[in-house]
């Protein structure tokens, strides 16, 4: 996709910042889930959203805990960035 707004990007949650407001879960329930025990939002599924949608969610999050994982400087395709960072997400510390 050449249109920047419809480009698919990977989102991630900073667990230290998340206050469990659940607005991400309300806006994109296939991508975010607030864990009942930790009350921290987790990325579920592919974690991929259109950039315009991801920007809205980044802006909406009250604790600025959500960010877009930008493709690395070596200009690897978005798909690669997703796999790399997805592995990190799947390994909660």
């Amino acid at each position: 996709m050449s249109d920047e707004q419809t480009e698919m990007v990977l989102v991630t949650v900073d667990e230290e910042k998340c206050i469990g407001a659940g607005q991400c879960e309300m806006l994109e329930e296939d991508t975010f889930y607030v864990d009942d025990d930790t009350v921290i939002a987790k990325v579920i599924g592919t974690g991929m959203l259109e950039r315009s949608r991801a920007n809205l969610i980044v802006e909406t999050c009250p604790s600025q805990a959500i960010s877009i994982v930008e493709a690395s400087a070596q200009e690897s395709p978005v798909g690669d960035a997703q796999e790399d960072s997805g592995a990190e997400e799947a390994d909660p510390s």
Binding site: K17, I19, G20, T38, S63
Partner: protein, 417 residues
Amino acid sequence: MSTTTTPTPNITDPSLYLDGIPHERFAEIRNADGLMWHDYHDGGFWVVSRHADVKTVSKDGKTFSSAVGMTNLWDLEADAIEARRSLIDSDAPDHTRLRRLVARAFTPKNIRRWESTVRDITVELLDAYVAKGEGDFVAEVAAPLPIRVILTMLGVPVEDAGYLVELSNFLVEGTGDTQSIPPDAFGNTTPLRLLPFNSPASHALFEYGEKIGDLRRADPQDDLVTSLVQAEADDGDRLSGSEYRNLFHLLVFAGNETTRTGLSHGAIALADHPEQWQRVLDDSAMVETATEEILRWSTPVLHMRRTTTAPVELGGTHLDAGEKVVMWYASANHDERVFANPHTFDVGRTENPHFSFGGGGPHTCLGAFLARLEVAVLLEEMAARKMHLTRLGEPVRVPSNFVHGVLSVDMAVEARS
């Protein structure tokens, strides 16, 4: 550069608000260069009046601290700060820890589960109001609805709703010039400066919270108080005794006072603008935008204060560390840079990024989606009855620079369905 004049009339004068929000004064402040300095008692504060500046302050809790000087206009001594500190007067990581203890119950997804409870209470109150034909909308609907909902969530006996609304009214008085109860009311012996809102009613609410907490420790239930006392018991690091008291106080106060204000102003606005109510009656899809417009119009909390922790440039003014800044949501919600025709009540307003739940940072209103649900359900049930409200007199407003409260408003009510 900064403008260093104190606006007249004085926007901190509680009696000013007996006539409603001083919109003309706020417009002058918004449209002056930089931030305006405002004298207050021995010191003063910077007036943050523009939508964009309120947003900047709200989102940057590191530079604009809620913990350092707490969130009220007045300054407190160190012991009072510690005794009175609650969720809203904390910064990360304390804020994050406390917020997570209560956040789960208030996520949009979990709030939806309360819809039938909210609807049942709303229907009961509206049907009784319609049967009477007239009465004070605040006493009949706006006050009992939110207090009954929050008490149900907390697990507090609903029979005590009247007592807790009474305590809330005394707390609001504490933000004004005069209190109608003596310092030793409710058996209080704590110096008032150590109590939230300087009110002996806070002592009563603390005691009440302790009593309910003891009951839930002995006999756990599936409710919010139980989850709080369990957090306190599991691990003292998660919630201290003082934090429990202040959190219970905050949930009861914020859970009823603010939504009561929103519902009251909503009813007044719909009575005063029948053509707007007709739009909701004609198109049920209008409930969503009408809810947001009622929230903007009502601005239940007029301001919150922060204290700078580092030098910063804000709205064209340089601030040093340790300066007091006060965000006036009442002004931001009418900022002509953001809202088209800000002084028009428009239930179809689609661009409506109001700050009635705060300016969007980590302290964003915990109960935002509960409040939205209560306003929306009230509109739906009023529409289902084709209810028409007619004012029988002027609203009696609360003399407070902090809450945009309505004590009472007499209305005639007719159901045309």
